[in-house]
Symmetry: C2
Subunit: 409 residues, 2 copies
């Protein structure tokens, strides 16, 4: 697996900025811009919610018409520009017009993203200020750019990976935001991933789709899915290295998947009120789809998440959630282990707490010691087939309720 760095030095031909446009209070960064010197092959994966925000609709339209000459991505916080009708779409277009004017490119080359409260119009004077400031301050401060897309996130989330090939190296780098409303099939989650590798449009599309499926679509914070979820990939080819042969494509795909997983896990780690990071390895289900469904049902179970919070090795709730997932499941053929850490070594698979339809005779004290760790892995062996999927999730705490009880106020 590719080695991910938790920071971004620079990616050839890309320039970024994160500025204070006045959307948030007290000087906090709230508007972000990513720009490429040259045209990018670009693709996106978007929310499956039937209620789609204006920027999602605009980006889907632009990427369908124009997947080979994208130049910029502008992101605002505070307003999601969702449920804003025709005015919302006009405002999304107007944002891209301003970016295009500032960068001397075409509006059709600009993608936009928004996150924040649903149903409020973009304050266009502040958006104009954000465009002006960010376009005048482009550089390599990716941490500022990542901070400028945060909402209830407690920290900026970014990462990069370097890929070396026979004909030279290239970089993949990305930033992400998202803290609550994270569910299977994306989340209130925005991510921009860039690379200086050269890709064809079809390779970019297929690679992002595949990587998203095994990363952003396999994290669960609270089971909700937002109107704005977007993951964008821009490839500008500035490294002069292309991914064309099977081997090069596989290397690119591996690196992209590793980066997406890292960013997705960062979202879970920074989930609203999260105190525990939980890895759910569902193995030997009758199919991969069943394994994923079982893992996602467990990860979305409020009752199970409450037990995680209480450091309670409550295998009963986990098995009960598996039983209602709507996938083939037989408790008599299943077993469940719990281990400390994120990737327990194969020779230390953890404590078996359930087997053959019943709890084992494990010691509660041993289980409690594992559950007290900040990072826990459950391995649910369904004993039915060869389907496997890993879901990353977290607990639900008092703080989650506090954060979401009065988010708008």
């Amino acid at each position: 697996m590719s080695k991910i760095s938790p920071s971004i030095d620079s990616v050839a031909g890309f320039h970024v900025a994160g500025v204070h446009a006045g959307l948030k209070k007290a000087g906090a960064l709230d508007f972000s811009l990513v720009v490429s010197d040259v045209d990018c092959v670009a693709t996106g994966v978007f929310t499956r919610n039937k209620v789609k925000a204006a920027p999602v609709l605009l980006d889907m339209e632009r990427l369908a018409a124009n997947p080979q000459s994208i130049r910029a991505v502008a992101t605002n916080t505070v307003s999601a520009n969702a449920c804003t009708g025709s005015v919302g779409l006009e405002n999304a277009r107007a944002t891209s017009d301003m970016v295009a004017a500032a960068l001397d490119i075409e509006a059709e080359q600009v993608l936009v993203m928004s996150t924040g409260v649903i149903g409020t119009h973009l304050p266009m004077d502040k958006i104009a200020r954000g465009v002006e400031l960010s376009s005048a301050n482009l550089g390599s401060d990716w941490r500022a750019a990542a901070a400028a897309i945060m909402t209830t996130d407690t920290r900026s989330k970014l990462g990069s990976v370097r890929v070396e090939t026979g004909s030279g190296g290239y970089t993949l780098a990305g930033m992400v935001k998202g803290a609550g409303m994270i569910a299977p099939n994306m989340a209130t989650m925005l991510s921009v991933i860039v690379t200086d590798a050269a890709l064809s449009a079809s390779v970019a599309k297929q690679a992002l789709r595949s990587a998203t499926q095994e990363s952003f679509n396999r994290i669960v914070v609270d089971g909700d899915t937002s109107t704005n979820d977007t993951v964008l990939l821009l490839a500008n080819g500035a490294s002069g290295v292309s991914a064309t042969t099977d081997q090069e494509l596989a290397a690119f795909q591996d690196a992209l998947k590793a980066l997406c997983r890292y960013l997705a896990q960062e979202v879970v780690r920074d989930g609203e009120g999260v105190t525990k990071f939980v890895t759910l390895d569902v193995i030997n289900a009758d199919s991969e789809a069943s394994a994923e469904r079982i893992g996602q049902t467990i990860g979305a179970s409020v009752l199970t998440k409450s037990a995680f919070y209480g450091s309670d090795a409550n295998w009963g709730r986990i098995v009960a959630a598996a039983g209602r997932a709507g996938a083939p499941f037989d408790p008599d053929s299943a077993s469940l282990r719990v281990a400390a850490g994120e990737s327990p070594p194969d020779d230390q698979p953890g404590l078996e707490i359930f087997s053959g339809g019943m709890p084992t005779d494990y010691q509660e004290a041993a289980a409690a010691a594992i559950m007290a760790e900040p990072s826990i892995t459950f391995t649910l062996d369904c004993g039915l087939g060869a389907g496997c999927a890993t879901i990353w999730t977290c607990d639900i705490s008092h703080d989650y309720i506090s954060i979401n009880g009065d988010y708008r106020s």
Copy 2:
């Protein structure tokens, strides 16, 4: 609609007891027995979870073999007798053997229910004590019987309704427990409903199935579904009044549905940590199934429930939940109103806060005043067809997390 009384005087031919068998601490009632003098037509609706508790498996077997001569229902708390393997099934059978011996009936005439922690074996010495005490103290104290099936419930939940016909009257009465883990398709919810009307087995089965669908299956506390959910209906005919003609059958069905709805709503009202009772009326969806699915998705959305808790009229989260329900939904044709109370009169439909894909220009202060009420009704008009469904749900509070964070300890 039939008039429900929140208590039970007596039902001809039925005797009950709620006793302290030593399962709970400090003398709390923990074992319940319902007995009929004569054979009952009986039917049940059970959890759809693939992980079914031993008492569920035993009752399903007995009702399939023997739907016309049930005499007793015994319920224990503290242990759910789920995930307990062959020993669990033996213990369920042994419980029914003891009840049969104490009442001088056959074991096949006894149904059993269990609720509590998954994966612990029934303490058979205490169960024996419960059978002994309850069979020796049968009477008409339904409140004690209802209290003896409680787990994290804060109060006993029971109700009755009287039906008068041309040939005399009969009573329907029921008790229910359930506080958390309440979801579409039942819950950790146990309910026993009895009537002194005379019913055929096929009428009883059909009537309970239909009533459950529009009551217990339309409440959402936390989206989880338990291994033990059971609703039983016993009809002993002791009133001498039978439901046979179409009119009599309709009257019985109406009364049963009204009683089930009342009991189901009582479960929501007493949900773990609940501070608000929320009615979700989904109207004009493309089908009833779509309306139900949309309502259940909204009701299970943790993000939406957090907003209820914070008295935030966050229509955005409601519309976003509708959009991801997997049913046809178009925000542009939808509208949403909020009103105080459970059944706002038709001429006071409440405050419209969303319409045509966008928020209306409602005043936040007016919405906040409604949201501050302990009981709120949202009406989501999908504008697509004629499908309607009402879901009853609640908020999620800090207390829910506290209750479920350390339930086992």
